[in-house]
């Protein structure tokens, strides 16, 4: 199996798909229907191929697997791909969410369907590339490249204030990344390579580490996002079409979390240790402040967007504890959030497609008309507030456990976030779903269609399965995480 360049195949299948779709030139309903089917099948095919990774993945090997390495620009810069226990799940999360996104866009996208679908497939290429790259230049290329299709998705198919939001999103993330680019150039000049495997072994001086760490951090902090650089996220989510929000919350935010694990703590351990209290502080502020903000939102998407910032706060908390539980918790929290927040945005999309408003006050009493919808929504709300038995609990618990062993102050404040999460989540649910159905325009609401059930079903199953039996996932993550933790400990000593 190792003979086949499976990662390259995963990355470039969407590109091949794009060429196929360019062949369809007509602009009528029938051909746009064909385009949707084509895109869906391509994305689904990619998902199936990515699943094969799971079968041939060696659970006992903590190193990079499925490695491909070809000379590229110069001697030190190569086309180097590979995945380990940390990244494999993100690849699968991506390939799983893209077909769901395409399926979710079947009804809601009315114009320029071809361009929309092409943007999505291009985005998939970039996202998979980010998680597979083992070369900083390649990583940067994919990391930034993803901005362009996302920019188009929000800017063209978005809501009323889409232009403002798009530019805010684009400039914010680009500005952050400039520093990362500078850092990469510096690394290449001083070490002669941008190869990640080599750099993981390289020892930078402490001063170098501090500066390079800040450069990488600036980029990741904006993207994950951490308080106070989070304000682009609610705007971007609100204006993005449903599928755009899904992919933004589901995958794009995770690229930064992945970057923290792979680069920040991997290559710059001293600096990471030095800055850990700073990260903890920002994370805890994010958890509490954005939860309180979520409490007073009147727009469903904004509420979920703010809750995403809070959830990502747990991720950064966990990663910078440098413990096995913390990093594993962070990864599981990201996977879970990738499923749950994606599902929550889909839930918003379902009612938005019917009533064309995201204002919470316009809803109420939907359970009378939409029992299946209410049930699905309930599962995701419970996962979002971290109920044991759902995927949301596992990550949060491990993160809190690890931070409590490091520093009780941060742990106490972070744990209050769990109480606040319950408050805003249940309050949202109650206002939309419960109560008597009295508003006139709601009487036309109908329950989930078959297409929507197909979208929600895998997400529900995964949410509960990971909640009750996360062992398969932990088995995948654990060897690589332990390796990272041991390496850091070795370097720090």
């Amino acid at each position: 199996m190792s003979e086949i360049p499976i990662l390259s195949i995963l990355i470039f299948i969407p590109v091949v798909g794009i060429f196929f779709m360019l062949l369809i030139r007509n602009n009528d309903d029938q051909s746009s229907q064909n385009l949707k089917h084509t895109a869906l099948w391509i994305a689904f095919l990619n998902f199936i191929i990515s699943l094969s990774l799971l079968f041939s993945f060696d659970l006992n090997n903590p190193d990079f697997q499925f490695v491909e390495k070809y000379a590229w620009i110069e001697s030190g810069i190569s086309y180097h791909l590979g995945i380990d226990g940390v990244s494999i799940l993100f690849v699968i999360l991506t390939t799983m969410l893209v077909p769901i996104c395409i399926l979710a866009s079947y009804e809601s996208i009315k114009f320029s369907v071809k361009e929309y679908l092409i943007s999505f497939l291009a985005l998939e290429t970039f996202m998979i590339g980010v998680f597979c790259s083992l070369d900083l230049v390649l990583f940067y290329l994919f990391f930034e490249g993803g901005l362009i299709p996302m920019f188009l998705i929000i800017g063209i198919w978005g809501g009323e204030r889409r232009v403002y939001s798009t530019f805010k999103f684009f400039l914010y993330t680009l500005a952050g990344s400039v520093f990362m680019l500078l850092a990469i150039i510096y690394i290449f000049i001083s070490t002669g390579t941008t190869d990640v495997e080599t750099l993981l072994m390289y020892n930078f001086t402490t001063n170098e580490q501090l500066i390079l760490w800040i450069a990488f951090f600036t980029s990741f902090m904006v993207k994950i996002p951490m308080w106070p650089f989070h304000t682009w996220l609610p705007d971007a989510h609100v204006e993005a079409p449903t599928a755009g929000s899904v992919i933004l919350a589901g995958v794009l935010l995770k690229m930064a979390g992945y970057g923290f694990i792979r680069f920040s703590i991997g290559i710059f351990p001293d600096a990471s240790e030095f800055f850990a209290p700073f990260i903890f502080s920002l994370s805890v502020i994010a958890i509490i402040v954005t939860s309180l903000i979520a409490l007073v939102q009147e727009d469903m998407k904004k509420l979920i967007a703010y809750s995403s910032v809070a959830h990502m706060g747990f991720v950064t908390l966990g990663i910078f504890t440098f413990t096995v539980q913390g990093i594993e918790g962070g990864i599981i929290q990201m996977i879970s959030h990738g499923i749950v927040s994606a599902a929550l945005f889909l839930c918003v999309g379902v009612v938005y497609d019917r009533l064309h408003t995201r204002e919470i006050a316009r809803y109420g009493g939907l359970v009378s008309k939409m029992p299946f919808y209410s049930f699905s929504f309930m599962i995701f709300i419970l996962a979002s507030l971290g109920l044991p038995g759902t995927s949301g609990f596992v990550g949060e618990f491990l993160v809190l456990l690890s931070i409590f062993s490091i520093n009780t102050y941060f742990a106490i404040f972070a744990t209050t976030g769990v109480v606040l999460a319950a408050t805003y989540s249940l309050w949202l649910y109650r206002r939309i779903i419960f109560g008597a159905l009295i508003k006139d325009d709601l009487s036309e609401m109908f329950d989930l269609t078959r297409r929507e059930i197909i979208i929600f079903l895998p997400l529900i199953i995964l949410t509960i399965f990971i909640g009750l039996y996360p062992k398969p996932i932990i088995n995948i993550i654990e060897p690589s995480t332990e390796k990272i933790v041991n390496q850091i400990k070795m370097k720090l000593d």
Partner: protein
């Protein structure tokens, strides 16, 4: 058999909730009712069997089902762990749950979503079993939050009622605050002991007797810290003072729910937790003092509020709150067996009272205000008889179940030389009078005296159907005889063998108690009865006059010591205000104002200026060149 006890409610829940998605019809409703009730009844029979089977010669069964979370050195399994404490809880849970399921068939007969209701009841039962059969703290936490979820769903069952929704959310959130404490306790246990499995923790506890833990920069006795965290969790679930506010509101749910969750089982989970962790608590005297203090204060506080409430269910809810305080006092004084014993008997007589109240509410057409009842004893004789049995057991009338368990607690308080034992003894003794008074006040206002109902309503008052009355009768048997039957096992001669090391058992010499102290609770109970009789039967306007005379005190009690108002103004409103400030002001004005929007504005300002420079007039440019040139020349000349 252990497997099926756990699985039956789960299967019942899954089937019943699947049925609830179908369009409601007679067949589906009946199927859901029969399946869930039957499954729980079988589980109850099994539970009784393993309870009785092990009573003389208890064994410990530990079954590991499969791994749940294991990360690094952290490990937690799904498990079934059966020791005596678990078996007692299983009997309580399954038997009350089975009776409540059956009762609900009658009580909910006019409701149009029966499968959903029965499903939720089974879900609750399942979660509660997970809680008690855990062999580690994480599964306990799963059950702990699971029952919280079921409670949330059931309180908000009538989702069209805004008050029910509000109460449901309140219950969940206040419980979450308690869970916050429990979670911190679990973290500390893991860090101190390196494991969260009961057996590892409890068997090694003595070697950690003197370990300190650095919490918020302060070195604290680790066990004390752990126990206080755990107890905060218990306070939330068992509605103890400061975290009690959700329980009275929870009465918005259907009455069978109140009987099962908010009287017999879920609210006693806190007591179970303390008793389960008795090896830890026993070595943390400061934490035990804290438990006594909170327990006794709650017992007193809730009883005072119960004196003046007018909603039939709220009176009983405050009574539950108060009785839970009694249990905590027992646990805090080291009489863990007595705490479990009161938990056991209380489950039966309090479920009886609640289901009786449900029968009354049913009879008087969904009215819950006892000021609008009265004089219905001839119409509902069986219900009245059952509620009298519940009441005398609650007040501790000699030889009823409540008498044995409550007396044991009060005697322990009298004998103990713990720091707050006297405080507890006095408050509990006063509590006995109040308990008896509010219970009989309720009974007299509901059943006796002149009716305050409209004539046509009164004529429609009817006794409940037998599907509701039979559970009442079975519970009444428990309320009368279980105390006598099981006394020697729980707290008496056989207690060492019976508990078999599952909880810590201390022996006290109850023979040294003066006769007066021994009979005092029974006497005070009768005093409470006489006062109630005098005020509500003999001179029925007396209560009103006393209330008029002591208006401030009456209002203070009627408004439950103003806890809700206090919390609203110090927690809820500020949280909302802070959220608004951070959103509109910090995010909107400062971050966006100076960040992206500010920079964007700056850029456009600068570009406007830059645009002005490019005027297009030759002489502007020539002038600029001239100035520039003279600057350069000046610079060169002076430089050299």
């Amino acid at each position: 058999m252990a497997h099926s006890i756990i699985l039956l409610p789960l299967i019942g829940f899954l089937i019943s909730c699947s049925l609830s998605f179908f369009k409601s019809n007679k067949f589906i409703d009946r199927a859901a009712e029969i399946i869930t009730s039957l499954f729980i009844t079988i589980a109850a029979i099994f539970s009784f069997y393993i309870f009785i089977d092990n009573i003389g010669d208890p064994s410990v069964v530990s079954i590991k089902l499969f791994n749940w979370i294991s990360s690094g050195s952290f490990n937690a399994d799904w498990s079934i762990y059966l020791d005596t404490a678990t078996r007692v809880m299983l009997v309580v849970i399954t038997s009350v749950s089975a009776l409540v399921h059956i009762y609900s068939i009658g009580y909910m007969s006019h409701d149009d979503s029966k499968p959903r209701f029965m499903g939720y009841l089974s879900l609750f039962t399942f979660a509660m079993m997970m809680l008690v059969t855990a062999d580690n703290f994480l599964q306990l936490f799963f059950g702990w939050e699971g029952v919280g979820l079921a409670s949330y769903l059931l309180i908000g069952f009538w989702y069209k009622k805004p008050t029910a929704n509000a109460a449901a959310i309140k219950a969940f959130i206040v419980n979450r605050i308690g869970d916050f404490g429990l979670a911190l306790g679990i973290f500390t246990i893991f860090i101190v002991f390196g494991s969260i499995e009961y057996q590892t923790v409890f068997s090694n506890v003595s070697s950690f007797k003197n370990v300190n833990f650095n919490f918020l920069g302060i070195e604290l006795h680790a066990l004390t810290l752990i126990c206080i965290f755990l107890f905060i969790g218990a306070m939330g679930k068992s509605a103890q003072l400061f975290l009690h506010t959700w329980l009275p509101d929870a009465m918005e749910g259907p009455t069978p729910v109140s009987a099962l969750i908010h009287a017999a089982t879920m609210v006693t989970a806190g007591v179970f937790l303390v008793v389960r962790c008795s090896p830890l608590f026993d070595l943390a005297p400061v934490a035990l003092d804290f438990v006594v203090l909170i327990g006794a204060s709650t017992a007193f506080f809730a009883a005072t509020v119960g004196l003046v409430q007018n909603d039939i269910k709220r009176v009983i809810a405050y009574s539950t709150c108060s009785q839970l305080g009694y249990m905590f006092v027992a646990a805090g004084l080291g009489a863990y067996g007595a705490a479990m014993f009161h938990l056991f008997t209380h489950a039966f007589f309090k479920a009886l009272l609640f289901l009786g109240a449900g029968s009354v509410i049913h009879a008087v057409h969904e009215e819950q205000d006892i000021r609008k009842m009265g004089g219905i004893s001839n119409y509902v004789p069986i219900t009245q008889l059952m509620m009298i049995i519940g009441t005398i057991s609650l007040m501790g009338f000699p030889f009823t179940s409540g008498y044995y368990s409550k007396d044991a607690i009060i005697e322990t308080a009298y004998l103990s030389n713990s720091n707050f034992a006297d405080y507890a003894y006095i408050l509990l003794t006063v509590g006995v009078v109040m308990t008896s008074f509010y219970s009989w006040r309720l009974m007299f206002l509901v059943f006796n005296g002149k009716t305050r109902m409209a004539e046509e309503d009164l004529s429609k008052v009817h006794e409940s159907s037998s599907v509701m009355l039979i559970p009442l009768i079975i519970l009444a048997i428990g309320a009368l005889f279980f105390g006598f039957l099981f006394k020697s096992y729980f707290i008496g001669y056989y207690s060492d063998v019976f508990w078999n090391g599952s909880i810590v058992v201390h022996h006290e010499d109850h023979h040294s108690i003066p006769l007066l102290i021994y009979y005092l609770p029974a006497i005070l109970g009768i005093v409470g009865f006489i006062i109630a009789w005098f005020m509500y039967i003999r001179k029925s306007d007396m209560a009103k006059n006393i209330a008029e005379l002591n208006k401030p005190l009456y209002n203070f009690l009627l408004n439950k010591w103003y806890f809700d108002e206090l919390y609203n103004s110090i927690f809820v409103k500020p949280a909302m205000a802070i959220g608004q400030i951070f959103w509109k002001f910090i995010d909107g004005l400062i971050i966006d104002g100076y960040g992206p929007n500010g920079i964007a504005a700056l850029v456009s300002r600068i570009s406007i200026k830059a645009k002005q420079v490019q005027s297009g007039f030759i002489y502007h440019y020539a002038f600029a060149i001239l100035i520039g040139l003279s600057f350069i020349i000046t610079f060169i000349i002076f430089r050299f």
